[in-house]
Symmetry: C2
Subunit: 226 residues, 2 copies
Amino acid sequence: MLAEGFVKCMQGSILFGALPEDVFNRIAQHAHVTTARQGDTICREGEEAFSVFCVAEGAVKLTVAGRNGREVVVDIFHPGTCFAEALLFRKDAYPVSAVALTDSKVILVSKSVIEAELLREPGTIPTLLSATYAHLHRLLRQIEHLKATSGLQRVAGYILALDDLDRNTNFVQIPYEKQTLASMLGIKPETLSRSFRRLSEHGVRVDGPIIEVMDRKALEAFLGEA
Amino acid sequence: MLAEGFVKCMQGSILFGALPEDVFNRIAQHAHVTTARQGDTICREGEEAFSVFCVAEGAVKLTVAGRNGREVVVDIFHPGTCFAEALLFRKDAYPVSAVALTDSKVILVSKSVIEAELLREPGTIPTLLSATYAHLHRLLRQIEHLKATSGLQRVAGYILALDDLDRNTNFVQIPYEKQTLASMLGIKPETLSRSFRRLSEHGVRVDGPIIEVMDRKALEAFLGEA
DNA sequence: GGAATTCCTTGACTGATATCAACGCGATCT
DNA sequence: AGATCGCGTTGATATCAGTCAAGGAATTCC
């Protein structure tokens, strides 16, 4: 049986949150939680998919192997986000690896459990599509940014999005390595470092892992003009 | 009633191709074909979605509006490709615009028709997921390329992928404007022009809209080393 | 405690890409 | 035919981002 906090987490997710109570409960009964230490691999690109995941605590990066073998961070997920649900009903391999960036807790539900429930209640399929569509949309936006904005602007956009999460205070702490963030933004660590520095002219101050948004308006203006 | 060629096209798509015959036929009965002249908009980002599309002839670009208002080409679809199926069961707007790059024919099926069939035969849901997963996977790969490879390499990769379609001859004609291709690859038209030129050292010759792959091995080698 | 490791930063440099401007070419229109 | 327009190319230049190298700070390992 799942502890209450984890149930809440699932209920907050797009994938599970909109399910009727009985369906949700049957799925939750078969869910279980794994603890991943920083650096642990939750699933590996190329391995056959058996589970759907939901981040409950910590942060998880999704990566793909680039052509030269170097890893590329495709996205970073925080609590309340599910992934791998697009592999439901398919005998297929994970297209990405998932690695814990901090000590994390991840809820696992085996595909077959969810599949059985969805087939039993076809009316719940829209929630599945919603979750997958959200991912699709996220990737679309990311492609737009990669194609149409500079590295510096992407860094600025990242900070503004961060700040959305934590709007009361102007300080945010990056809870993972900056090289990971650099890969996520599609730039090199050196360039990220210099970008933070350059943004001091646009209302941002970065000290170690701490980002301070001193003048949010200025930062938004910088992002807006381009 | 749909002409035979269009039925074949639908049968060749991921979304419709794997459906049981009776389900397919009921859907096909409600499908209809529109002719889009070059430059015509098939659907517009932000407008509410009512149809699912399947490219039957020509080429269609998917674009999003970038921050500064400039359009970014996200993907280019050829006959046999369906899109917008991820919006099934959702009252939502198209996240992209679709514009015909050449005179094209596009098959339209209204969402409600497909939704009714999927609910009647829940066993067909996997095909829906397959199509959406294919898109997801395609976007993932694109992000990988944008983050981990140079513009020149992306041009090379594009040519190799083109050539896959047309392997018997070494000539391929780009059937749309090069500025569109540049946006798709995330570079400026000027840079694309220079990239083509530079690839002459790697077994490619470009003359106007015609690409000739003179030494495929050399091109693959160039792409592989990096 | 000290050595080694990892991550981040910084500097100098190189290479890649964007920008600005000019021009050629073909298509279209009158 | 001549004018106009859009597209593609090319050149000169500026800006941006990657590379290489070095060093500092924090952490881990003996």
